[in-house]
Subunit: 216 residues, 2 copies
DNA sequence: TCCTTATGTATGCGGTGTATACTTAGATGC
DNA sequence: GCATCTAAGTATACACCGCATACATAAGGA
């Protein structure tokens, strides 16, 4: 369907709206996003967007839904060449933080935003992303890599990586002499988490000191 | 200054605005908060609030500033009867999660919200809260309780408790058969974190299983 | 007492979400 | 080919919002 530019009915307004909306979201947050402004930017009347989204909340909900899906894809892609269950967990965190750092506005929407009326699609895509997370730890448990019950490991791993993501995009890591590189943060968090949940008794100081370079 | 009700100039409009604003914030989020609505609710003209706050952002910034201070107080109060540095860390997490669960809207404002122009007061009160957090781990380090460098411990502890707070108020803990009690969550997260950062080599399964009751 | 200042009011502008009725272009059936 | 249906966009209107500006009034100090 080779829709040429400047079509009679704009061709694909819905897609264009979503694209422009994400841009506005990253720049001004959910409050600054305006359907009228979007219409204006796309050279269309103020009411046109309402042909494709019931209201502003519906647009944000759709953004959040695809946001969850993209977060999940990013984690899965990152895990592609993992060397084992523990490494999968590490790479999952890397994907999580890469997503947060490259789309902070979308990340904040996906999580710290409560729509007035939630949609089943959003909930489902969220649960799917979470399930990916939980499965990785289930696998660790099956391979006997965890010291305690899997729920503890899941709770800590997820909390830690989720919190690190927020601290990173809120620029709260400025308090440490630490590169804000998402990969470095994810690896650092993972290593320490792993010492807390792994069934292998940790050796003495096995982790790099803060003066030493961090794993790339 | 015994200001009677229904004073000529309302008595303390500024305080009343802040109080009502926090209520609106919890109910409808920052976007749903409206200065005009606040004025209406307090029986005052639509422009009156602007005598006390330069704009909506200024009101939210003030809410965030006091939010940080209250978060800090809650942590400090909770730590009052700690039995040691490690226990202080645990109780700090308890205070953190208690604050998040009792004021989720304020918590989200304090963290996941980016004002257009930040104020030094907000930044300072935020840094003060963070400093409290970091100091507790500095103390742990001084007492030789940490396995690695203090930065790792700080990053993990903060990320974990911060992430757990968000997961809790976003109702993402529903995926586990776990009571959403902030104290239980904080203790659980702390125990697992501590195994990852403590210099004491953890014994075999020392933590309660998910089938066992959690620490009160 | 008078005058300054803080506080609240009145009013208005532009922007926003959203409902409604209208128009038009593409697709569809004969 | 043509009439028709429908999806997509327009025009317009309303209430609300943030915010600015000019005005009114009450408090408090000289």
């Amino acid at each position: 369907m080779f829709c040429s530019k400047k079509a009679y009915h704009h061709g694909d307004l819905r897609g264009a709206l979503l694209e422009a909306a994400e841009e506005q979201l990253e720049e001004e947050g959910p409050a600054g996003l305006s359907l009228r402004k979007l219409g204006r930017a796309l050279g269309v009347s103020p009411g046109a967007p309402y042909r494709h989204f019931e209201d502003k909340d519906a647009l944000l909900t759709e953004l959040a839904t695809t946001g969850f899906k993209r977060l999940r894809s990013m984690m899965i892609d990152e895990m592609a060449d993992a060397t084992g269950a523990a490494d999968r967990l590490r790479l999952l965190g890397v994907g999580y933080l890469k997503f947060a750092s490259s789309h902070p506005g979308l990340f904040r929407l996906v999580f710290g935003w409560m729509p007035a009326a939630d949609s089943p699609e959003r909930t489902e895509s969220g649960d799917a992303a979470f399930a990916t997370f939980l499965e990785v730890l289930d696998q660790c448990a099956k391979e006997g890599l965890l010291r305690h019950d899997v729920m503890n490991a899941q709770l800590l791993s997820w909390s830690a990586i989720h919190g690190a993501a927020f601290l990173m995009i809120d620029n709260n890591l400025k308090l440490w002499p630490m590169t804000p590189d998402p990969v470095a943060i994810a690896n650092r968090v993972h290593d320490t988490v792993w010492e807390g949940i792994s069934s292998q008794t940790p050796k003495a100081p096995s982790l790099q000191d803060s003066t030493l370079p961090m794993r790339p």
